[in-house]
């Protein structure tokens, strides 16, 4: 399927999901002290929100699988970039 069939109900559901997740993040993180669990919750919420936005708003739910050939390597390279960007100076500061 190339172009998604208009599915306003699902889109509204996804939008509500993103907004609810974002709203929940505020009290949840405000009541927790900085910890790996808090970071995990925030990362999980970000991941879910991005998936919902990408799949529905950007039509990735309906796009041809061949488009993933363009998108996936970018994310893999992005991950590599995270480590490549650790310059010596920053590592030196941490000592």
């Amino acid at each position: 399927m190339d172009e998604g069939k208009p599915d306003n109900q699902f889109t509204l559901f996804a939008t509500a999901g993103i907004l609810i997740l974002g709203t929940l993040m505020l009290p949840l993180t405000a009541t927790m002290s900085p910890s790996p669990a808090r970071l995990g919750i925030i990362s999980g919420v970000i991941f879910l929100q991005v998936i919902l936005a990408g799949a529905n708003f950007m039509h990735l739910r309906h796009e041809r699988r061949s488009l993933w050939a363009v998108i996936l390597p970018t994310f893999i390279l992005g991950g590599v970039l995270l480590f490549a960007l650790m310059p010596d100076t920053i590592l030196e500061w941490a000592k």
Binding site: D2, N8, G22, A53, F57, M58, V70
Partner: protein, 299 residues
């Protein structure tokens, strides 16, 4: 009008081009956010018991303002989507209304951002302008921040002089208390003699930083330049990430405005393809904010 498509991916050329552009944008924002996170994680500890990264309250970051902006952008994305679907259903008027609403929501996002920036400008929370000296800095940090400390003392003195310039000495015994406090602090930054004619040493930048932070807490209306360890690093990260994102929002608004103006006289099917491509960009900007918001406002 026929739309040319890429043979292998079977995608319209415009859409493929936008996806390729977005791929470069993913790399760009990954680099930017990764740099900020690494700078934050590896920020040097200024001294025993001092936090290496400023707390949200210290740098006046309001999570609820970021939350409002999240709602605005998500709703604007929904509006673009509904506008596109209306165009596909040949409902040009409805599409125009949704697109108009998108423009309003995008402009409101920039308005909230402008409000935040104005607050930072007013408080002097700008890269290179923040004093980092407080009591308890390690000797290495103190030595490193010597220039910053001297410049900070001058900035505070200038602000204190401006605050107390219009007040006569005889009026200092009467309220307002904040002006009295400002005058007292100004005296402490100058060398002089006490009533016993003994030499009074002016406050060091670190001592002044502590005094200023205390006064700002007591009298927020003074708006004295706060002393924040690693504040300049924070300000650089804040302004670069949110500023570049805001520029992207602005660029998206310009494109959507052009499409809105086109929609007044063009045929729907032709516009639908263009709006879909522009919408992809707008949704991407929205998606970046979903990642940026927790990093800047929550973590």
């Amino acid at each position: 009008m026929t739309t040319q498509t890429s043979e292998n991916l079977n995608l319209p050329n415009g859409k493929l081009a936008m996806w390729l552009f977005l791929a470069t944008e993913v790399m760009f924002f990954t680099g930017l956010l990764a740099t900020c996170m690494l700078l934050r994680e590896a920020a040097p500890v200024p001294g025993p018991g001092l936090s290496p990264w400023p707390a949200h309250e210290t740098v006046h970051v309001q999570p609820w303002l970021g939350a409002i902006n999240t709602v605005l952008l998500i709703c604007s994305s929904l509006c673009v989507l509904l506008s596109h679907r209306a165009l596909l259903a040949n409902q040009a008027g409805k599409a125009r209304r949704w697109l108009g609403l998108t423009l309003l929501l995008g402009a409101a996002f920039l308005g909230v951002k402008g409000f935040e920036y104005a607050g930072k400008f007013q408080l002097g929370l700008l890269p290179g302008k923040i004093g980092e000296s407080v009591n308890g800095l390690s000797p290495q940090r103190e030595k490193l921040l010597q220039e910053n400390g001297l410049s900070y003392v001058r900035d505070v003195q200038e602000r204190l002089r401006a605050l107390t310039a219009t007040v006569k000495p005889e009026d200092l015994k009467t309220p307002p208390k904040e002006i009295q406090a400002a005058h007292a602090l100004l005296q402490l930054t100058l060398d002089g003699k006490d009533e016993k004619n003994s030499y009074l040493r002016p406050l060091t930048p670190g001592q002044l930083g502590d005094q200023v932070n205390r006064l700002n807490g007591e009298f927020p209306s003074l708006h004295l330049p706060p002393a924040i360890p690693n504040g300049n690093l924070w300000a650089s990260c804040y302004f670069v990430t949110t500023g570049i994102h805001a520029i992207h929002v602005f660029a998206g608004l310009v494109v959507l405005l052009v499409l809105f103006l086109f929609s007044l006289g063009r045929d729907s099917p032709r516009l639908a393809g263009r709006l879909e491509v522009a919408g992809l960009y707008w949704h991407f900007v929205d998606l970046v904010w979903l990642i940026l918001y927790p990093i800047i406002y929550i973590l």
